[in-house]
Symmetry: C2
């Protein structure tokens, strides 16, 4: 009857102690935040953490106000997390970038009549952190907070490119259907004091973005990126 559960933890007797519970708490937080209202069992299975352990961790998070439980016992984002999240935009390193890009994004969305996005790099991915939407009925929406691979995308190219010389006009990057079919992206890099710090994209339906229209869009994107770079580090 003594069910000797496999020894596990074999392999290299690693001497590196990297907080396991910390990792797990963060996994759970992430799972709940992106997943909306999730129950204990779901959160546990999603993260691969035993339920009893997951429960304990979730309690830490709710205790801090990072998560809240609804009347069905499911977990959702709590007010404390929202507070932190908001603070991240005000004091974080992206505050300046976002503020600097805002006017350019507005003008870009206006003149191109497509949705304009601002993206930053996150390891091997790119994350869209701000947008100004097109006002047309058919438009690209909802990619703020979304992350896409660096590899094989136009944003990725723009973010991975080596910093060009200051004053040198940026190059536009193009792609169609890398993430979603029928979506065309036109992107240019934003340069800070130390290399590429972000990218400005225009995303729209592929059938609309062709010929002269595409050329015009590319010009506008390059211009917006240049203006943003200038706003970041005026000389």
């Amino acid at each position: 009857m003594t069910v000797t559960r496999g020894r596990s933890a074999s392999g290299t007797g690693s001497t590196l102690h990297v907080s396991r519970s910390a990792e797990r708490v963060l996994s759970l937080l992430e799972t709940v935040v992106v997943g909306g209202a999730v129950g204990l069992t779901e959160a546990a299975s999603e993260t691969g953490i035993p339920v009893s352990t997951a429960l304990r961790h979730l309690r830490v998070l709710t205790g801090r106000g990072y998560l809240v439980r609804d009347d069905l016992g499911r977990y959702s984002v709590g007010p404390s997390f929202v507070r932190i999240a908001l603070a991240a935009f005000q004091s974080g390193p992206y505050a300046r970038l976002t503020a600097a890009a805002q006017p350019a994004l507005h003008r870009l969305a206006e003149v191109t009549e497509e949705s304009a996005y601002l993206a930053v790099r996150d390891g091997s991915e790119a994350v869209y952190i701000a947008t100004v939407e097109s006002r047309r009925a058919i438009r690209h929406v909802g990619w703020v907070g979304k992350s896409v691979p660096i590899e094989g995308t136009a944003v990725g190219e723009a973010l991975a490119t080596a910093a060009s010389r200051p004053g040198q006009a940026p190059v536009p990057f193009f792609n169609t259907g890398a993430i979603e079919p029928d979506v065309t992206a036109v992107v240019a890099s934003v340069h800070g004091m130390r290399g590429v710090v972000g990218a400005i994209s225009v995303l729209g339906p592929a059938e609309r973005m062709v010929g002269d229209r595409l050329d015009f869009t590319a010009e506008a994107v390059v211009d917006a990126a240049a203006k943003t770079s200038l706003a970041l580090s005026p000389r």
Copy 2:
């Protein structure tokens, strides 16, 4: 300064095992996110965690991309955290609230010519989660993400008040100088399906908000709150 002195659950030889490292990692995350660029020693002393331990935890956070280190070794918000933060606004329980309040906040800021805010409750505090700023030169700004006590503030009263009957007109709450001298607040509760879910405030310089102007503002705030409640749970 709001360093929650860890310890917790002392006294009786508690058999409750509440993840210590988890608590600490979250403290550190919070400290860095609100504090901007902080060094190891600073983060450690701020949270009361020994430096070597703090370093280990901060490594977990940077490893996950929640934090990044600048070239001076200081920690700041990372792209992964920004991604999560953005997701919190899209899928979180406050997404509906914020969306429902947006038009009302705009109109409110326009007609009162003062900054309009949306706040939710966080334990014994209130957190401002959205704003539309006044367009006047002297205006109230920068309170998004800020938290104030429930006790002794107008927002607090509005959030702590018992749910009024549906259809019943909300009551305005007033306060001057509770948090900052010379700032007057006019607030009304937003009602959801189960009680008070938020509050709408107008904040402005005390000397401007008097007499007829104040009455008018109160009316506008009450109206905005009612409209938001209606948008949340139409009948």
